[in-house]
């Protein structure tokens, strides 16, 4: 910035505690908590019970308030003007129509305009052409192959229903998110409102969207669609804002100096310059929509999720695996196509060629569509794949399941029992007996150290809310599983990240693995683990670990690779062994980034713990949300429990991001 004199500004932590480090500092921060815990354990008679667990009478009736306001919204007119339920029903009515059209185009045929469904051969070929256009022949083979799989292996109809919903909700979510991001970029005041809202929205579990929607709209495709839109808006808003904010000041100035009007600035300068982030946003919207649409089967949305849910709950693992593979393939298709679209760079146009030569893919796309439709008119087999041509892979999967049951049952069972009895149950008991005051003091100390009094007040407010929400024990039951998986994920993820960051080759290979894992909807990981461990905390733990090790590895790699080369060289020239370089230079420099990774691990775990509870066998907040789904009178409970999940996530998020920001400033890394 022009005119700013550079001075070394002490960061927050330095200001507060000088240069105290290491064990002494840790002890200082933790000692008040240890003291409370000590009194609580050794002299329980001295420790007032209400400081341990808030008793029933003192619980703040958040759930009643939530229930009542929902009922109020549902039945009464808002400000005497309109009924909220009517409003939501109207919105759902608007959605019904495009959802119908989209579905009928893809699968059902004979739509409202007499549209008949596009034949499956045209769709498969169309996917292949789109792949070739956006990403070359490799992508074409991948996408074409995946869609062919969907057709042949008897999941075509469910897949296309899911796709038809995604095709309607993703553009809507993208446009809404884009508009919000744009408004935030243009108005600081709106940004200050939007960012905290996005933070809360993004740490709410999926079901917190589904529950209230189902109250107002009931069960079905529209409810799922609306919840999905709400769920997918935040990442798009965030990335739009980021993209617009990171347009270099000079580029903006170049636009102004050329004499752009505001409108021209937006469309000719800012939007094109923000294109990379916008495209990442669209990719994320697509993936979020896909995951959420499948998950929305919990409120009766059709598509791939519904059979999966049924099979899992009736423990027909083979069938569930078959659907799971379809979900994986579709996720990969959508991800790779949208990523390829996003990374396309403008190419030279050779005007010496004819129009046809310049647009080969448009021509090919039209050709296969027309060809497919013609084929569909001629042969019924091309229109709808005959049942007898399809193959079910379920028997194959069933065999695997049987084999596992037969051969691995006892070692797996022993492992599971050992984990439950020796580790998880003691750990859960420990968490359940934590006095809330102790946790509050601990979190407040950390907050004070990382971000000053303001942060301390915010995070202790969060813990106090948990204590008085009436779901303290449930929150701790959820937290223990999250912490357990956090520990395992870090123990696995950090060394893997260290290993993978060592060479470019490993890094690239690991990146592909991580990208693939990240694309899959979280609950997919539950299918194989349920096969191995049945339902319960061990299955959840393993699924969560598989899912949330991904960010642990990713951020470790990122942090290590961002360590400047000259610093590493300086360490080598000082005579460090490779291990010393790692321990004394690279890991300390990468530590803030690794902490941000842990933050992600924690948020990922939290969301998956809730989903896992739906399969059954896990106590805690997820269980509360599940029960409220079946009984409308309990919706308030479900909402409060969902909000507790968000509050746990926000507490960790606030502490860790503040820490990482401060620490990065100290280390002088961006």
């Amino acid at each position: 910035m022009a005119g700013v004199t550079e001075t070394a500004v002490p960061t927050g932590q330095q200001k507060r505690l000088g240069h105290m480090t290491g064990w002494r500092l840790a002890l200082l921060l933790v000692s008040p908590y240890l003291l409370i815990q000590f009194i609580h354990e050794v002299a329980p008679s001295l420790f007032p019970n209400f400081l341990s667990v808030v008793n029933e009478d003192s619980i703040v009736p958040f759930r009643d308030w939530a229930n009542r306001s929902l009922l109020h919204l549902k039945d009464e007119d808002l400000l005497g003007l309109f009924n909220f339920k009517d409003f939501t029903r109207t919105v759902s009515g608007w959605l019904e129509y495009p959802l119908d059209v989209s579905e009928q185009l893809l699968i059902a045929g004979d739509g409202p305009f007499g549209l008949s469904a596009v034949p499956w051969v045209a769709l498969v070929a169309g996917f292949a052409v789109a792949g070739a256009w956006l990403g070359g022949w490799r992508l074409s083979v991948l996408v074409g192959g995946c869609s062919l799989y969907l057709a042949i292996f008897d999941v075509w109809e469910d897949s296309m229903i899911t796709l038809s919903i995604v095709l309607v909700v993703a553009p809507l979510a993208a446009v809404i998110g884009w508009a919000l991001g744009l408004a935030a970029a243009k108005s600081r005041r709106f940004e200050a409102l939007l960012i905290p809202a996005l933070n809360v929205m993004q740490s709410m579990p999926h079901f917190s969207y589904l529950l209230p929607i189902s109250v107002f709209i009931g069960i079905g495709d529209e409810a799922g669609a609306i919840a999905t839109i709400l769920f997918a808006v935040p990442p798009m808003a965030r990335l739009t804002l980021l993209g617009l904010q990171t347009v270099p000041a000079e580029v903006r100035e170049a636009g102004l100096m050329a004499g752009c009007t505001r409108w021209q600035m937006l469309w000719k300068v800012e939007m094109p310059a923000a294109r990379p982030q916008l495209m990442v946003g669209i990719n994320q919207v697509l993936m979020q929509c896909f995951g959420m649409t499948v998950l929305a089967s919990f409120v009766g949305t059709r598509g791939l999720g519904l059979p999966l849910l049924n099979y899992l709950q009736s423990l027909r693992i083979g069938r569930a695996l078959e659907v799971g593979v379809a979900i994986v393939l579709m996720a990969i298709m959508l991800d790779r196509l949208s990523q390829a679209a996003g990374s396309r760079k403008p190419e030279h146009t050779d005007y010496t060629k004819s129009w046809l030569q310049r647009h080969p893919f448009l021509v090919a796309g039209t050709a296969v569509t027309v060809g497919g439709v013609v084929l569909g008119q001629l042969f019924d087999q091309a229109k709808v794949l005959p049942e007898k041509w399809t193959v079910s892979t379920a028997p194959f999967w069933e065999e695997i399941v049987d084999w596992v049951q037969l051969n691995l049952k006892s070692p797996l069972g022993e492992f599971r029992d050992f984990m439950i009895l020796e580790i998880l149950i003691p750990m859960r008991n420990g968490f359940e007996s934590l006095p809330w005051l102790g946790l509050l003091v601990l979190v407040a100390m950390l907050g004070w150290y990382f971000g000053g009094l303001r942060l301390a007040a915010i995070v202790s407010g969060f813990i106090a809310y948990l204590a008085f929400s009436g779901f303290w024990i449930e929150s701790m039951e959820t937290l223990y599983l999250v912490v357990a998986s956090l520990i395992v994920s870090v123990v696995i993820g950090v060394p893997v990240g260290v290993y993978a960051s060592k060479t470019d080759h490993r890094h690239a290979a690991m990146q592909v693995v991580l990208d693939t894992f990240q694309v899959l909807p979280s609950f997919i990981y539950l299918i194989p683990v349920v096969m191995l461990f049945r339902v319960g905390p061990v299955a959840a733990l393993v699924a969560i670990v598989i899912y949330s090790t991904v960010p642990a590895v990713r951020y470790t790699m990122l942090g290590l690779r961002n360590v400047p080369d000259d610093v590493v060289e300086a360490a080598r020239m000082s005579g460090c062994t490779e291990f010393q370089v790692l321990r004394k230079v690279r890991l300390p420099m990468a530590f803030p980034e690794i902490m941000l990774g842990m933050n992600q691990v924690l948020l990922f775990s939290l969301l998956l713990v809730i989903i896992a509870a739906f399969i059954g066998g896990i106590e805690g907040l997820g269980d509360e949300i599940l029960r409220s789904r079946t009984e409308q009178a309990l919706v308030g409970e479900g909402l409060v429990a969902g909000f507790n999940v968000a509050v746990i996530g926000l507490t960790a998020d606030q502490l860790i991001t503040n820490y990482a920001r401060d620490r990065k400033a100290q280390l002088g890394i961006a």
Partner: protein, 354 residues
């Protein structure tokens, strides 16, 4: 003076902080820099007054954070000054409406940026034609004009390239081309060559001088490199903590530095290539009227051989042949290689230079 000036800026302030205007008013519009800092404001531009004459190259020179970028943005109103006035070609720039400002920028101003600020999604030709496009000039005219500019800046055959396909020097040629597309009256260049390698920088400076010899624009050029300032400037303004500490020709800055800060900048320059005989000569009386003579406007490097080989002071004449002074060996040696005195500037008071 100011009526002839292309840009005339009077007492321009730019402070960053909670309520800069109120602060300025509290201090009757003239707080000291220390008072500004003490109140927690950042003094980006402090009481800047200067005129940019038509056809001249005025270089704003200072270290990073000296306010030179902010000042040039006040002159183009990319940054809204806290106080003061800026007249642009007779128009009160700060009173111009949004529409008027857009109009002025579309037709009368061009700007080149340190990091090129090219639009990555547009080809070279599209980048160059961008200012015409936003004015609504039709496609054919734009293409013709872009072709002209492309050859003017030496990028023939690269019109269809994207910025990412060009080297740094080539990218800045595009930046220069874009800023010239509308044939502006005033050309702002914000450290245009700082991001380039030294050899390329030299080449681009030559290119810049070549262009200017053809175009004769009014130029405000920013740099932190004094050697670059000397090569290019008609006049140099040196900025320190937002203030213009001295404004004058390179020669004046060297022979008569206003402050220690200016002196430090000028210390390492090649004086013999900048100072003229006239700027360091003594009274004409001592000269050997029968000996050699030199032109007052000649550089010391050009007259060195004559002066050094003469035992007596040589005569210094102006363009008409009138004797205006004399120059002896010691004065010349002192002026070029002397450490504590930089010539007969008279300010013997501050002779100590570390």
């Amino acid at each position: 003076m100011s009526s002839d000036a292309m840009i005339s800026c009077r007492d321009v302030w730019k402070l960053y902080g909670p309520d800069p205007l109120k602060f300025l008013n509290q201090h009757n519009g003239e707080p000291t820099v220390d008072a500004v800092k003490e109140a927690g404001y950042i003094p980006a531009v402090v009481a800047a007054t200067l005129d940019v004459m038509p056809g001249e190259i005025l270089v704003l020179m200072g270290l990073s954070g000296s306010g030179k970028s902010t000042l040039v943005r006040c002159l183009s109103r990319l940054v809204e000054p806290t106080a003061g006035s800026v007249e642009f070609g007779g128009i009160d720039l700060l009173a111009a409406s949004g529409r008027e400002l857009i109009d002025i920028r579309r037709h009368r101003m061009g700007m080149v940026f340190q990091h090129f600020a090219l639009f990555p999604h547009r080809t070279v030709a599209e980048n160059i034609a961008f200012p015409l496009e936003v004015q609504g000039v039709d496609g054919n005219t734009r293409r013709t004009r872009a072709e002209e500019i492309i050859s003017l800046v030496g990028l023939e055959g690269r019109g269809d390239y994207y910025p990412r396909e060009l080297s740094g020097g080539q990218q800045q040629r595009v930046g220069i081309g874009r800023s010239l597309a509308v044939e502006p009256d005033v050309w702002f260049l914000d450290e245009p060559f700082s991001a380039l390698d030294p050899l390329i920088r030299r080449e681009m400076q030559d290119e810049f001088l070549r262009l200017q010899s053809v175009l004769r624009k009014t130029i405000v050029f920013i740099t932190h490199d004094f050697a670059e300032a000397i090569r290019l400037a008609d006049r140099i303004a040196i900025l320190y903590e937002g203030q213009i500490v001295q404004l004058g020709r390179a020669e004046e800055l060297i022979t008569d530095p206003a402050t220690e800060y200016v002196r430090k900048f000028t210390r390492d320059v090649q004086r013999d290539k900048i100072l003229t005989a006239g700027s360091v000569m003594s009274e004409p009386g001592r000269a050997d009227l029968n000996g050699a003579s030199v032109q007052a406007s000649a550089l010391l490097s050009e007259v060195a051989a004559t002066v050094l080989s003469s035992r007596e002071p040589v005569l210094v004449q102006d363009d008409t042949g009138t004797a205006v002074g004399s120059l002896d060996r010691d004065t010349l040696i002192d002026a070029v290689w002397g450490t504590d005195e930089t010539g007969d500037s008279g300010d013997t008071g501050d002779s100590a230079v570390g």
